[in-house]
């Protein structure tokens, strides 16, 4: 299984905001694990979807040179469940961006009427800039091809230069 919880970007404004969508299908094994007779997307994976959307936004802001790690979930407030057949939309906006990291505010909605699922605030760390004394591998193990491919696909489809 690949650890990718967004399907594609539908909007990407460098250093400002990004919007990604994910279609939820009953074929996903994990849906059957939390409550076997009542499949829902676990809240933790909704936070992960937001972290991936926002993480790529934050990474792109420094041309993927930094190792961007989710450092803190400041807030995650949930308003409704997400079920098979739903299309999740993740919208992330950068609040603060510095040499050391970034903070974002995100909203999660489903369906064409944009029903509010969650409001999420996350903080990301550029780990090479923060954990002084600790050494990490030279290569950027955060932004693997799986993630950069997502942005490339959007770039190609939207015919835009990012």
């Amino acid at each position: 299984m690949r650890w990718i919880w967004i399907d594609k970007f539908v909007e990407f404004t460098p250093r400002t905001s990004a919007t990604a969508v994910k279609n939820v299908t009953l074929a996903e094994e994990h849906l059957h694990d939390l409550y076997p007779s009542f499949p829902i997307v676990p809240h933790s994976l909704i936070v992960e979807g937001m972290a991936q959307t926002a993480g790529i936004l934050v990474g792109e802001a420094r041309n993927f040179a930094e190792k961007v790690i989710l450092a803190k979930i400041g807030r995650a407030t949930f308003h409704r469940l997400v079920r098979p057949g739903d299309t999740i939309t993740y919208n992330a906006r950068i609040d603060q961006l510095s040499e050391q990291g970034a903070s974002i505010t995100g909203t999660v909605t489903v369906g064409p009427s944009k029903d509010l699922v969650a409001e999420i605030e996350l903080m990301f760390s550029h780990i090479d800039q923060n954990l002084a004394g600790l050494r990490f591998p030279e290569h950027n193990f955060v932004f693997t091809e799986q993630f950069t491919e997502l942005l490339k696909t959007y770039r190609d489809a939207a015919d835009v230069t990012i």
């Binding site: 603060q96 990291g101 903070s103 903080m123 002084a132 004394g133």
Partner: protein, 141 residues
């Protein structure tokens, strides 16, 4: 054009700092007293310090076109703590003490001077208020 800076009282600064710490650290308002230490009393961990800086910048920005910024290592000078000339074997060196006093006029070093164990150097709520008071109003109260 000259930038107009609105004076802000120490009480107003404290109130905003209190809100920031309540949200950043998930503590109760009553816990955020001027003498409360960030790590010991309020449970701050290393990553919380960056979060606090981000939230302070947001809270004290009144004009989006002219954002309030806290330069790296100004409020929490981690570069000093990670420099072996200034901190060696967990203790602040004489050169480190000079550097700390020069860089952090907003901090009370009386306890650290008695025992230079770096773990005894505690940031308090007042440390942040002093820093902001100096930065916004030109001098600490």
């Amino acid at each position: 054009m000259e930038t107009q800076v609105m004076a802000i009282s120490r009480d107003e600064i404290f109130k905003k700092v209190q809100d920031v710490l309540v949200n950043a650290l998930g503590v109760d308002e009553e816990e955020v007293t001027p003498q409360a230490t960030l790590r010991g009393d309020l449970g701050a961990e290393s990553i919380d310090f960056l979060d606090i800086v981000f939230r302070l910048e947001k809270a004290f920005t009144t004009d989006p076109a002219n954002k309030f910024t806290i330069p790296r290592n100004e409020l929490f000078p981690e570069d000093i703590f990670n420099n072996t000339n200034f901190v060696k074997d967990g203790r602040v060196t004489p050169a480190g003490m000079v550097e700390l006093k020069k860089r952090m006029p907003h901090m009370d070093f009386s306890e650290l001077e008695k025992d230079p164990d770096i773990n005894k150097m505690q940031f308090t709520v007042d440390t942040i208020v002093n820093y902001l008071d100096t930065k916004l109003n030109g001098q600490a109260a």
